[in-house]
């Protein structure tokens, strides 16, 4: 399974002119004794919708953290649009797994979105910032959540608020870590809709960690199968084949999920 489907088709000059959205070069990450990522290597050209799939503990979230510059790999490096990971946060809109934020923190959805504009927590939200935040919330169908405390939002509503925050600065790369976890089917369906519309409008790149292989097959233009090592990278129909999944997951799971 080739890691660079465009290898040989691009000249060096072209590669310099349009750096890939994601350039992950032989990244290995070790936490203590555990090797979490092993020589992961791929390039994702701009404009694609990448689904990152793999079993639990495969290192998917770690890969996301390497791309964000939160984790420094022991070997290899990553770059986003040609800049070292962590050096261009303004180009990335990140939607985290909704596990790390403080649920008791007193905040409204508007404040959350404004934190994405300012990249700091606001003391006071100005009128123009508020308008921008409301527009971002409206774009994801969450305008009625504007002044609601985050603690009172459901999983799906929180997901929308965090997505509005990620998209408010119109990033070139939208990076999501298991956004559909804890969210019902309808909300999940909406999420893909929203992302595809944003992509179409902005020509942005999306990279999403997901457990939903069917969604990956349907929505993604590239799929990365990860289980410490890279087990596949390319078109969904090539990569989500039985043999690849067997190798990566150790079993085929529910066969109907990837029926073509």
């Amino acid at each position: 399974m080739t890691a660079r489907p465009d290898a040989g088709a691009t000249t060096a000059a072209a590669a310099v002119a349009t750096p890939p959205a994601l350039h992950v070069h032989r990244v290995s990450v070790r936490f203590g004794d555990a090797l979490v990522l092993d020589g992961v290597d791929f390039d994702l050209p701009a404009g694609h919708f990448l689904a990152i799939v793999g079993p639990n503990g495969a290192g998917k979230s770690t890969l996301v953290k390497v791309i964000l510059g939160l984790v420094a790999p022991q070997k290899g490096h990553a770059a986003v649009f040609g800049r070292d990971a962590g050096d261009a946060p303004e180009r990335i809109g990140y939607v985290p797994q909704l596990k790390t934020f403080d649920r008791t923190f007193p905040a409204s959805a508007v404040e959350l979105v404004v934190s994405g504009i300012r990249r700091r927590w606001p003391v006071r939200v100005g009128r123009r910032e508020r308008e921008r935040a409301l527009a971002a919330l409206a774009d994801v169908g969450a305008e009625r959540l504007a002044d609601r405390p985050l603690a009172r939002l459901s999983g799906g509503e929180l997901q929308r608020a965090f997505l509005a925050r990620a998209l408010v600065r119109e990033p070139d790369l939208v990076l999501l870590d298991e956004p559909a976890t804890g969210v019902d089917f309808l909300a999940e369906h909406d999420l893909y809709d929203l992302l595809e519309r944003y992509q179409a409008r902005r020509g942005a790149t999306v990279a999403m960690v997901t457990h939903d292989l069917a969604a990956a097959r349907f929505h993604a233009s590239r799929v990365l199968v990860l289980n410490r090592r890279l087990h596949g990278f390319g078109l969904p129909e090539d990569v989500l084949c039985d043999a690849c999944l067997q190798e990566a997951f150790g079993h085929l799971g529910h066969r109907h999920a990837v029926a073509f």
């Binding site: 990335i92 007193p106 905040a107 927590w121």
Partner: protein
């Protein structure tokens, strides 16, 4: 009412109110973060570290023969209590950062060690030596007897706390909300946590010398916890925490004077009354 104004003309009353108000200011601003980060035990821990420092400082003063002599600054155990509390704070932050131990465990360890050192130090001071303060003073402070050097330290500490928090509030609040998200936006959350601990140590050390250990822990937690029940934003919590702290200080200081009651107790009970009112009337903001 005239009587009240008469009382307020006394220098010691004015100093007590200014000292108390500034302690409330520092505690309200820092306490908002301490409470939100589930570090409420930290105030207690640092106050007891200040106790340990005061003991060691008092022993040092007596041993060096400085009691009753020398410049104002050397006569106060504050100059050892402060670095002692600072080292303790950084030690707690380090253990929290580098080990799997939870905050309350780390704080508990340092707390116990500080108290032990303080008791050991005080036990080495000959009983006939007059230190100018007694055990009740250490526990509940002697705010009505605050000295110029201590007031000066409180004013300086308050200026530092306000200046530093003013410069870092947006980042600190962001890291408090979601550490990982803040780091993706370039916030150096680990450094900010060490900074928060250091500022808390400074505030607690200079304040505990005046308001006492028990009262200091209360100042850092109760007004902020109360404010949290009445606020929908972190900034709102900070403002209300300071307001509640200052108001209960004024009520407690003046009330204790009239009722001839210990000032520390009066302040804490005022804070408790407001807290109970807040629990009863809190907005369901989640």
């Amino acid at each position: 009412m005239d009587e009240l104004f008469e009382v307020l003309r006394f220098g010691f009353m004015q100093r007590a109110l200014v000292a108390g108000a500034l302690v409330a200011l520092m505690s309200g601003l820092l306490g908002t973060f301490v409470v939100q980060r589930r570090l409420s035990f930290l105030g207690d821990g640092l106050a007891h570290a200040a106790f340990g420092g005061m003991g060691v400082g008092a022993l040092a003063i007596v041993s060096a023969g400085l009691l009753g002599a020398g410049a104002g600054v050397l006569r106060s155990p504050l100059w050892i209590a402060l670095p002692f509390a600072l080292l303790t704070a950084l030690g707690i932050a380090y253990v929290r950062d580098r080990t799997d131990l939870s905050s309350d465990t780390a704080i508990g360890v340092f707390f116990a060690v500080s108290v032990a050192l303080g008791v050991l130090a005080f036990s080495r001071i000959p009983p006939d030596v007059n230190l100018g303060f007694n055990v009740m003073d250490l526990l509940f402070g002697s705010i009505l007897a605050v000295r110029a050097v201590e007031l000066g330290a409180i004013v300086t500490a308050a200026a530092i706390v306000v200046a530093v928090l003013g410069a870092t509030w947006g980042r600190l609040a962001y890291a408090t909300f979601d550490d990982e998200l803040a780091r993706t936006d370039g916030v150096r959350s680990r450094r900010l946590e060490y900074l928060l601990f250091a500022l808390s140590a400074v505030a607690v050390a200079v304040s505990a010398v005046v308001v006492g250990i028990v009262l200091m822990a209360a100042y850092l937690v109760i007004p902020a916890a109360t404010a949290r029940l009445w606020s929908r934003s972190l900034a709102g919590t900070s403002v209300r925490a300071v307001a509640i702290g200052v108001a209960t200080t004024v009520i407690g200081v003046i009330g204790s004077f009239y009722l001839d009651a210990p000032t520390g107790s009066a302040i804490i009970l005022s804070q408790a009354a407001v807290f109970v009112a807040a629990v009863a009337t809190r907005r369901r903001s989640g």
